[in-house]
Symmetry: C2
């Protein structure tokens, strides 16, 4: 089976750490990556501080195939993501010529120029529909934090990212408390080591999830789980 690409998500946001705004971008990105067969392994939320962004981006970039960031990419004083990512790669920030030209063509004021700041060496990735590009520095994809804009950029990711092996999943909502199911779950878990089985107490009982890279194993584990539930 081909290797599954790995990813990390870096959320840059004082407003999230202070509880003023709830992060909703993680769910959007997680579902897209899941569909693409890319493993989201870590999400880190940090403040809008260039040196913290730099340290975290450098570490995540070295340990994952893809890093995505959210937040801090406007043209105001608190938008320090480009500077942070540039520092992560030991470089500076420049105005991207093509990006700048496209801003000028839209007749934007001089104060908007800084929207075209990118880490030196960054590339622009464009989508078929979405008109503003995503800035990509090495394996770090730099996205805006505002959820509707973040979501539009995901179209570009959907078009540009490679496809990993498909994920297989099933789930079962069992109207019984989780603790009652422990011996039964332990048997299924033991019999299907290639399947990741999750168990979550929910108001209606227990939600059991089955996930894996091997569709046949997931189907067999699901069947065994349902059989055990019917018999118990």
């Amino acid at each position: 089976m081909p290797q599954r690409p790995t990813a990390a998500f870096l959320v840059i946001g004082n407003e999230i750490l202070s509880g003023k705004v709830a992060d909703t971008n993680t769910g959007l990105l997680a579902r897209l990556l899941r569909k693409k067969g890319i493993a989201l392994q870590r999400v880190v939320t940090i403040p809008d501080e260039p040196e913290v962004i730099a340290a975290e981006a450098a570490q995540l970039s070295a340990s994952h195939d893809f890093v995505f960031t959210s937040g801090g990419v406007g043209a105001t004083h608190d938008d320090v993501t480009m500077e942070g990512i540039a520092r992560a790669f030991g470089t500076g920030v420049m105005h991207h010529p093509r990006f700048l030209r496209s801003l000028e063509e839209r007749g934007l004021a001089a104060s908007h120029r800084d929207l075209a700041r990118v880490p030196e060496g960054a590339e622009l990735r464009e989508g078929r529909k979405e008109t503003w590009p995503v800035v990509v520095m090495r394996n770090v994809w730099i996205l805006p934090g505002l959820p509707p804009v973040f979501e539009r950029k995901l179209e570009i990711l959907a078009e540009c990212l490679p496809e990993g092996p498909r994920y297989f999943a099933d789930e079962e909502l069992v109207p019984r408390p989780e603790e009652e199911l422990i011996p039964l779950l332990d048997r299924v878990v033991g019999a299907y080591p290639a399947v990741q089985i999750g168990s979550y107490p929910v108001p209606a009982g227990t939600r059991i999830t089955l996930d894996g890279d091997d569709g046949e194993a997931v189907a067999k584990a699901s069947a065994a789980l349902r059989k055990s539930l019917a018999e118990s």
Copy 2:
């Protein structure tokens, strides 16, 4: 001014990384810590894997006054948080005698015994109203992931955590696009270095937030911002 205590939040959850469930605990904890005057500096979401939990908990514990974790504390096979935290401190997992006794007094089945598993050396913190304790290992407070249960445990944190210096905050919703405000914002930011000024594009225009440890400085910066907005 007394030092502000620092905190990190470790979210343990395959279900969040796969996009199956949206994390809502971060917002709940962030708002509580804010009220207590404790600085939430980092939120990390990782999979339900003991060695990943151990490495992350060890690092966060060493670099923050408080660490809070969410998820993986039931009695099923996928509840590996206690094992992970134990490993972070080079110790094992044991059944906590008092916790176990209280489970037995409630007449819970043998399969529930593992709800009383804690890292060796952990303490139980109890609240005035909430009947189930929070397990605390050194500076790591181990909370359940299920949001309504997580929220109940926050009562115990509200009672037990120390109070840091108060945060001062103000905000202004400006019905103008963010880019127009750049020169004005830059002046206020330059004049009040002790105030953290955030600027967020929102559908209605721009949300400007002012935060700081010094109430007088925040009030002055707010007044200066409003004056500049009125004059511009």
